[in-house]
Homo-oligomer: 303 residues x 2
């Protein structure tokens, strides 16, 4: 779309913080870019950049403009996808931000199933912690966010949800695998491995530990859920994860036990979108599929 060029440039300038830098990135001269911006400001009727000595910065009006532009761009993408849809071939692109826990099994399965029915649809998956995922949603950089225990910003709209008890992962032969019910204090008495603070599992554990007068003291703290799963098989420790990122059948040598809900309340896995936005056809249908899958999961209540 040609008309959007100016907006794209404005966005680039806002990102770069300088007209010259943005111009260089865009492959035009600073003077041309500067004039586009001033012309736009004239037409719009207000300045959108603060002119500083060391560059430029969006002012509040500019923030509004940028928000408008992003929403317009996403809406145009939706229109295009609807048009492609009514012309018969189901094309489109779905862009999801998700927590790490969805990476090993859930999302690959869901995407594969969707693409089996609609091979014309492509996907992009970005991995973000819960607050970043919501930020991507708000910036219209993705259509859907699938996150555990989101921070729930104002413009976040819940599409579907599914409770997820915190689970302990251990290697076979770990002493705690014999216990019929796994209490948090038992886990904390053994060496444990935990995700870092920005993750939902950790924040649930922190709160729960505090309420029994204890503290999470991981021997290894990491951003990578994958590392946790592998580490517990290397050193005899306890890791914490949520069931959707685990698969009892497939994880050979790994034992998965829910931590007693008396100690740690289950968190919620949430599929969300930007409030008030109408999604492209493909994203909408994918969201419906995910919702159904989460619902089925809740029915089965497995982990």
């Amino acid at each position: 779309m040609r008309h959007m060029e100016t907006f794209r440039l404005i966005e680039a300038v806002a990102r770069a913080g300088s007209i010259r830098k943005a111009a260089e990135d865009a492959g035009i001269t600073a003077s041309a870019l500067n004039r586009r911006i001033t012309r736009f400001e004239d037409e719009f009727g207000a300045q959108i950049f603060e002119r500083l000595a060391r560059g430029v910065r969006l002012n509040p009006a500019g923030e509004l403009i940028l928000q408008h532009y992003r929403s317009q761009r996403s809406d145009m993408a939706r229109v295009q996808s609807q048009v492609a849809d009514l012309s018969g071939v189901r094309r489109g692109h779905v862009s999801v931000a998700c927590s790490q826990a969805l990476l090993p099994y859930f999302l690959p399965e869901q995407i594969s199933r969707y693409r089996h029915d609609h091979p014309g649809v492509t996907f992009s998956v970005i991995v973000r912690d819960r607050s970043r995922a919501e930020a991507e949603l708000a910036a219209f950089n993705c259509d859907l966010a699938l996150v555990f225990e989101p921070v729930m910003m104002v413009d976040f709209d819940i599409v579907a949800q599914c409770p997820q008890p915190v689970c302990a992962v251990m290697a076979e032969g770990h002493p705690l695998t014999k216990k019929p019910e796994l209490r948090l204090r038992d886990c904390l008495n053994h060496p444990h491995v935990a995700p870092s603070a920005e993750y939902g599992v950790r924040s649930l554990l922190d709160v729960a530990a505090k309420s029994i007068g204890r503290q999470i003291t991981p021997v290894v703290e990491t951003e990578s859920f994958e590392l946790i799963r592998h580490y517990v098989q290397t050193e005899q420790t306890i890791g914490f994860q949520i069931p959707i990122g685990l698969d009892a059948q497939r994880q050979a040598g790994l034992v998965i036990r829910p931590v007693s809900e008396r100690d740690v309340p289950p968190g919620v896995l949430i599929l969300g979108q930007q409030r008030g936005r109408s999604l492209p056809v493909a994203s909408f249908r994918f969201a419906m599929q995910i919702s159904k899958a989460l619902q089925d999961r809740e029915m089965r209540d497995d982990f």
Copy 2:
């Protein structure tokens, strides 16, 4: 805004049904316009007009595009008004579609009150019957619709409402003014004057008459509420209107009596907007003021 030019032209072509006519209206040649459209279609990736022998017509894709454009235009207007708002001076424009009943007292008073506080805000008021008012809303041609007994299309969002009993208007000295309670059958036994079929008052009366085995048989049927009010003072007849379009104090020589609610259920006056749309600041505040006014009216329960 420059970028929207092509969309404006597309809209003009869709309205005119012909590229040549639209080009003439827009003051450019048909060839230029034709090429803008084909270029847009290329960029967009799909045809948006059906080429017929006698001109062009929007296809479904074109309808979507037009809808998108209108929504974007209105959203841009909102952004501009927000920017004007945060720059201190409260400027803006409010555009309302309303039923005739609001013209004599209610809307003038409300607009005047709002403009007293915010002189920078301008208004446009268009008069439409209830279904037309909703159509204007859906086409983003106005921000608010204030209508009696709307037909309630899918994208119509209720902001506020206020019940309005159907009232009979008569000249002083009309025999029915003596009755303590006014029954519908009494009214129908006298010569009466009614609004035409597209109006809410009439449809309420039609339903009510039918349920008592009668029929509305107006000696004068008109689109103009004003004519009704004046006619009942010329020939001894009964007119029907809703209280918000009347003012017991100010209507010299006119008697207003509610028709018994046992016969005719009260209709509802509704303030609505297009679903999912965020209104410009001025329109939003005006809507809030109207809501409050309607609420106060309902409390006073006067007519």
